[in-house]
């Protein structure tokens, strides 16, 4: 019996581009990228792979699609790069459409597979090379491209205009003052200890998260600032579409903004991919070995506030919780233990997911996949049944996750598999349990 047909999904970004491309154009781009842009490790990875398939069991897509080999990590490389290289780039536009489907929408570049490969081959990197080729051909899913277009214009991922941004901060400052009277969102303050950056869904649709941080900063008496101009969004979908030039510009705007304000460190809100872009991919493209200003993820920051007693807990959160550990900060940065510690500090009943820490399954939304938008949602949710099973097994009611992509991806899984659970950011739990000194209360 053959494998089931992959459902055909229509996506303007792929379908229209395919009409305008030809094999020669594709070959030119492929050969330029492979000759000029890939590092030595690219060839090593390709030549080292012994096609053993040990990476397969790492991938939630493979496990959730009934072990369909087309969804295995090596299967994704085989269907894309191997073929491209074998044909020296002379592949058809329809073939490149499939490449984009596989690399942009069916791989979260979560790097779980690298841990299972006996040679540590970075399969996600190989699929990012495929994405780069796709981007150079204009073969990018419509909604992901729209996000990148937004980055290119606004330096944020949701077309937030400059006045809307400042207005939202001023509104949230007022809201926060209504709860904790010393709350402020100091704009453009020079020399602050903390430059706080967020991702665009916060001002666009989750503004209360900014009001929350204003209250947390006030209680913890943190010397902080947010910039009024571009550079406030730390996210980067251009990194994931393959548009490294826009990725570099966006990352530079973020760091230049903090350098200009003479901030001593950047604390970023709860997001995983944004951490990856700001800590690794962005600086590397620009030429910085390390971020030019220390970059602290929210998990690290809350760990600092809680362990130094700057934030105290009035009463622990009682509802049973579990955690979705974001790949980019847990596998990518080793923040898993700290994340578990802060959850234990604020929650009474914390149920550990299995597998956990760096072995945790991806949320299925990361790597730009959720930004590919509605056309790809069904396959994305289907491709992460193992996550639904893993979460359901904890019997928790709340899933805490310090990442925007995880947050949205897990919500889709909860509704897709009818888990009846809820997702919260860590800061939302902290707001419920934090001790507020009487003199700060309104």
């Amino acid at each position: 019996m053959g494998l089931p047909a992959i459902p055909i999904v229509s996506d303007l970004g792929l379908d229209e581009t395919a009409k305008a491309l030809n094999t020669e154009q594709i070959a030119t781009v492929v050969n330029r990228i492979l000759d000029q842009e890939t590092a030595a490790r690219f060839k090593v990875y390709l030549n080292t792979c012994v096609h053993c398939g040990l990476c397969s069991d790492a991938c939630h897509w493979f496990l959730s699609n009934d072990r369909d080999p087309r969804f295995s990590p090596v299967g994704k490389v085989k269907q894309t790069l191997w073929e491209i290289i074998r044909k020296k780039g002379h592949v058809s536009p329809e073939f490149m459409k499939d490449c984009s489907r596989i690399a942009h929408t069916e791989c979260n570049v979560c790097r779980r597979c690298s841990m299972y490969c006996p040679f540590g081959i970075d399969i996600a990197y190989l699929l990012l090379v495929v994405r780069r080729i796709c981007h150079e051909l204009g073969m990018v899913p419509q909604f992901l491209q729209d996000t990148v277009n937004s980055h290119s214009v606004t330096m944020n991922q949701m077309w937030v205009k400059q006045d809307e941004w400042i207005d939202t901060l001023q509104w949230q400052e007022e809201e926060a003052k209504g709860e904790i009277k010393t709350s402020r969102i100091p704009l453009d303050k020079e020399g602050a200890d903390v430059f706080y950056s967020v991702i665009a869904p916060e001002p666009k649709i989750l503004a209360q998260l900014i009001g929350n941080i204003a209250q947390i900063m006030a209680v913890a008496k943190v010397d902080w600032t947010m910039p009024s101009l571009d550079g406030w969004d730390n996210s980067n979908m251009a990194m994931y579409s393959g548009d490294f030039e826009i990725m570099g510009r966006v990352e530079r705007a973020h760091y230049e903004s903090a350098l200009k304000l003479k901030s001593r460190r950047i604390v970023m809100g709860e997001c995983g991919h944004a951490f990856r872009g700001a800590a690794y991919d962005g600086p590397k493209w620009l030429g910085w070995r390390e971020p030019p200003i220390p970059l602290i993820h929210a998990v690290d920051f809350y760990h600092e506030l809680l362990t130094t007693g700057r934030i105290k807990i009035a009463k622990k959160f009682e509802t049973p919780v579990t955690v979705q550990e974001p790949c980019n900060i847990v596998r990518g940065r080793g923040l898993g233990q700290k994340l578990r510690e802060i959850i234990s500090m604020v929650c009474e009943d914390f149920r550990l997911p299995e597998p956990g820490l760096e072995h945790n399954y991806c949320c299925g939304a990361g790597g730009g996949t959720i930004n590919c938008g509605p056309p790809w949602k069904t396959s994305r949710v289907k491709g992460n049944r193992v996550k639904a099973e893993q979460l359901a097994a904890t019997k928790a009611h709340i899933i805490i996750t310090p990442c925007h992509n995880c947050h949205s991806g897990i919500e889709d899984i909860i509704s897709g598999y009818k888990l009846g659970m809820h997702v919260k950011f860590f800061s939302e739990i902290l707001m419920e349990v934090m001790e507020v000194p009487d003199e700060l209360k309104c």
């Binding site: 303007l12 981007h135 729209d146 214009v153 400042i166 100091p186 030039e245 003479k262 030429g287």
Partner: protein
């Protein structure tokens, strides 16, 4: 803290003295809230937005508030000629307020308040019910646009430019975006051609020409001068600058050989780097310095294509020239610690933060503001000079270089101090 042009500098009080300007700790008792402090160029005034008993906001200057108060107020700034500005809102209408006088027109929103180099021009981005534009010296651009995300003022303060969106775009409309919806408007007039993206722009020294970084199509960026793109394009570019008194534009561009500094679209130094940015013209209007990365993770300053021998692992900030153009200095960071490097040699003393260095007018000494262990300090030729300050604002040399004005906060008091430069070392 680059040496600013202060038009009134000659008329300031340059008698050596130390004078208390205001007890700013007292303000914290007098008002519900005291925001960030700013100090006038001559050091005679300290100001902050404060909240009154009735919960409105207003600037407080040396302990006295303005008569006007606002539901919201922010962006408090002294212009280089010493006028105090802020952005204020009442009844959902925003305007610029200058020395307690609201400008005539009000808008749905005002932001990005800026001053021209000569201190005379003040402008900002505005949103009205008709769209986005610029408010410059009290005049509103007649043309409004779908969106605007920047404003640059000409050095003389009489012109303004910024990037504009020329047509509305629905979210998700990638095909329309690809047509190119961005442009530059100069004094409200768009250039003839649109681009995929338009980012930062700069005016020529006479204010007559504007150059901007543009994206032609995905992966092809270049510089456009008065709307005309350079004939060559690059994978990426950074903000252009003009050589003073000319039409010549210098910008970094990413070529297949690496980043190069370009003059009017042609390689200037005949060298490529892993990165190059922050290009700065010397006081003679010809010498050119830039921050370069000769190798991944190594940063230094190159002057006319010749790099300092020493490189730094973390960061190098804007190069600063001495007034004779013979020396350069920059804030640098290595192994997580900041200091200043002068002609390629870093000061041995390290800090938690440094501000851009300032040369004494004779070019012999280098001063910088620094922060370490919770206090600010003045560092002269690498040595901490004077006390640890609670706050230290910019410092200014008299034109003849014999005196230095220091504006600082000690024990909750804001001081203005004029000292003899010879006493610094």
């Amino acid at each position: 803290m680059s040496p600013l042009f202060y038009p009134e500098k000659d008329s300031w009080d340059w008698d050596p003295s130390s004078r208390e300007i205001s007890n700013i700790d007292q303000w914290k008792l007098d008002f519900n809230e005291v925001q960030e402090f700013v100090v006038s160029p001559d050091g005679q005034k300290v100001a902050a937005v404060v909240q009154n008993e009735d919960e409105t906001f207003t600037p407080c200057i040396n302990g006295e508030t303005w008569e006007n108060s606002f539901e919201k107020a922010w962006s408090l700034k002294f212009s280089p000629d010493g006028r105090l500005f802020c952005l204020g809102m009442n009844d959902d209408e925003w305007t610029i307020i200058e020395d307690d006088r609201p400008w005539e027109d009000s808008f749905e929103y005002v932001w990005n308040l800026k001053f021209s180099q000569n201190g005379k021009g003040a402008g900002a981005n505005i949103r009205t019910s008709d769209g986005y534009g610029v408010l410059l010296n009290g005049e509103v651009w007649e043309n409004k646009f779908v969106q605007m995300r920047s404003v640059e003022l000409s050095p003389d303060g009489v012109s303004a430019a910024g990037n504009i969106q020329i047509e509305a775009l629905s979210e998700g409309d990638v095909a329309k975006f690809r047509q190119g919806l961005w442009n530059i408007a100069v004094d409200g007039k768009p250039w003839d051609s649109n681009f995929l993206n338009v980012w930062d722009c700069s005016f020529s020294s006479d204010g007559g020409i504007v150059a901007a970084e543009v994206r032609l199509v995905s992966g092809r960026q270049t510089i456009a001068v008065d709307g005309k793109a350079w004939k060559n394009d690059y994978r990426a570019v950074w903000k252009p600058i003009f050589i003073p008194g000319s039409r010549d534009v210098v910008a970094p561009g990413l070529t297949t050989e690496g980043w190069k500094l370009l003059l009017n679209g042609e390689p200037l130094w005949n060298k490529s780097y892993n990165q190059i940015w922050r290009q700065t013209i010397g006081p003679d209007g010809r010498k050119l310095a830039a921050v370069v990365s000769p190798e991944f993770g190594q940063w230094t300053i190159a002057i006319d294509g010749i790099s300092w021998a020493k490189t730094f692992g973390d960061v190098v900030l804007d190069p600063v020239f001495s007034s004779d153009g013979k020396r350069t200095a920059a804030g640098v960071k290595e192994s997580g610690k900041w200091t200043v490097a002068v002609d390629g040699t870093p000061w041995p003393e390290k800090f938690g933060m440094v501000w851009d260095p300032v040369f004494s007018p004779d070019g012999k000494h280098v001063l910088a503001k620094a922060w370490r262990d919770d206090s600010y300090m003045l560092v002269v030729d690498g040595k901490i000079t004077g006390p640890a300050y609670e706050n230290l604002f910019d410092f200014v040399f008299s034109d003849d270089g014999t005196k230095l004005l220091i504006k600082c906060v000690e024990n909750g008091l804001c001081f203005r101090k004029v000292i003899f430069s010879k006493d610094l070392t």
